[in-house]
Amino acid sequence: MATGDRVDLLERYQHGRHRELGLTDEDVRRMYEVMLLARRLDERMWILNRTGQAPFAISGQGHEAAQVGAAWALDRERDWIYPYYRDVALVLVWGLTPRDLMLQLLGKAADPSSGGRQMPNHFSSRRLRIAPQSSVVGTQIPQAAGTALASKLEGTGAVTLVTFGEGATAQGDFHEGVNFAAIHRLPVIFFCENNGYAISVPAEKELSVPDVADRALGYGIPGVTVDGNDPFEVYRVVREAVERARAGEGPSLIEAKTYRLLAHSSDDDDSTYRPREEVEAWRQRDPLPRLAAYLKEHGLADDADLQALEEQVRQQVDDATEHAQAAPYPRAEHLLDHVTGP
């Protein structure tokens, strides 16, 4: 996984890389802002968990660049996403708010994704075209193909982005979904956030090929591996996939190599299965300071700006936390609502 270093090198030679990709300065500032918001929100969730205020937390820390890079390549106004539980940054771009996420964390009635029924980070919104997520790893993949089929039939040019970890690619549903999408050249992007582990199981025990992108070979679709901690590279390859998809050329499989900086979830202890040096090495490639450095280097922000942003984000996170804490739980008498319609 030396991609990170390679890109760092490249960066020294390619000043203003974002502009070459057609991203405005404002885009980059916004990207950073979302990544920071996702990170701080996520950190707060863990604090709430560790202080006994939230029974569970699951982390996207480390994955923010991959998510934001992908999100920026899509069209929030018409495209669909099928996120998974690490996609805090992705769904923030898509329109869920910090309050929404905190309401779900605490199981409150106003949680727009599930009314306090689902665990944290189970995102859903019909209005925002965020598909209804479950916890069952892999099931969303054929479903995303089904949504892409609908878009194809409608001729709207809408694209579906479906995300998952590398572990999910061992599931039968991954194969069935990609196979169907490839046969029918559906406008769907299979976006794998490869953090090297499925809980404790390392990639070598989940795959027999070096890269998840190699799996694309069996379906005759493009498979691209990209440094998932570099939002611009991710943006670039996803944008290409989006163009292909909108042009009717079918699906792509994109693998963003990244790392989760924390344990799998608040119930996990990763110290038994991840060497501390490995974690430390990846901390050095944390996408947040990296993008902060880029902002400064390219004159998009100075230390004062970044400080102000931190402050603004902290307020948002505080507000979301307080709002969610004050919000009521669902009522017991609604337990049987929405089982079926009439």
Binding site: H122, V136, G146, L149, E176, N179
Partner: protein, 328 residues
């Protein structure tokens, strides 16, 4: 009104559904040029084209998964599982996904997917082309399960399934496909999901059945009426989930004697729930223990004709059960 077989009524219904709503999709194995292995989808490809009539790869989980994704995006998929025996690879998508989408989004999303599958035995289909699988699903809140026994109901229940917003399992008894005939209106109509039908009134006992077994029960009841003066009430459940509790309870209270008949395995079958409901709600009206006459607890129906016949309830064995019940 034209007379149709069960399979013709279904074909007629599928064709009309495709006409009525341009967002209706048919998807399954061999549903296109082959028109389905039983012919249920014959003619659809020619008429509605390969965009809306999709020959799926041999992968049941994706048949349902793709249908769910299309439904989430506002389409109306009519998925076919070629034999109910092969619905198992899709159980995760059906139970963990389709059935929970409305609930898990607190009603924001619905998942109106209709999944048809031929089920049942008596066609030398052996262990993997004879299964009854409703017993694996009627325990799943969030689903509706429909099993029509007549062409009229088949068409009407299909309409009703397409009119509402929940995932529906629509099981068609494959031996009834060509055996059972009846009148079917040309124009679209619906038969509501939920209510059972009293196919024959009677005062001595109640026989509760569904699918092909309704016809066997009626045959037994007619013979017993003619030959022995026993008047059995025969109820066709039509909908397995939800069950029509009121009709069942009222009939049990009236006759005091209840026989439940199904082809599916006994333990944990639909008959168990029916018996439980009656033991809760009509206990002191019962003049005889509740009886279940069902497929035995063998994994499935053997191929050889001797054991296949031994597995299946038939009009004679049903008549025997009614006789014993009434004489209790």
């Amino acid at each position: 009104m034209p007379v149709m077989t069960l399979i013709e009524a279904i074909r007629h219904g599928l064709t009309q559904e495709m006409e009525l709503n341009p967002r209706t999709l048919v998807l399954g194995e061999d549903v296109g040029v082959r028109g389905g292995v039983f012919g249920a989808t014959r003619g659809l490809l020619e008429r509605f084209g390969p965009e809306r009539v999709i020959d799926m790869p041999l992968a049941e989980s994706s048949i349902v998964g793709v249908a769910i994704g299309a439904a989430v995006a506002g389409w109306r998929p009519l998925a076919e599982i070629q034999f109910a025996d092969y619905i198992h690879p899709a159980m995760n998508q059906i139970i963990n996904e389709a059935a929970r989408i409305r609930y898990r989004t607190n009603g924001d999303y619905t998942c109106p997917v209709v999944i048809r599958a031929p089920f049942g035995g008596g066609v030398h289909g052996a262990l993997y082309h004879s299964q009854s699988v409703e017993g694996l699903f009627y325990h799943v809140p969030g689903l509706k399960i429909v099993i029509p026994s007549t062409p009229y109901d088949a068409r009407g229940l299909l309409r009703a399934a397409m009119e509402q917003e929940d995932p529906v399992l629509f099981f068609e008894h494959k031996r009834a496909y060509r055996l059972v005939k009846g009148e079917v209106p040309e124009e679209p109509y619906s038969v509501p999901i939920g209510p059972a039908a009293i196919r024959r009134e009677g005062r001595h006992c109640t026989v509760i059945a569904y699918g092909l077994m309704v016809h066997h029960a009626l045959e037994a009841a007619e013979r017993l009426s003619r030959e022995e003066g026993i008047e059995a009430e025969v109820i066709d459940l039509r909908t397995i989930l939800p069950l029509d509790r009121e009709t069942l309870i009222a009939s049990a209270q009236k006759t005091g004697r209840v026989l439940i008949v199904h082809e599916d395995n006994r333990t944990g079958g639909v008959g168990a729930e029916v018996a439980a409901i009656l033991a809760e709600e009509a206990l002191f009206y019962l003049d005889a223990p509740i009886r279940r006459h069902t497929g035995p607890d063998a994994p499935a129906m053997p191929f050889n004709p001797v054991q296949e016949a031994a597995f299946l309830p038939n009009p004679y064995t049903i008549a025997d059960q009614i006789r014993e019940l009434v004489r209790f």
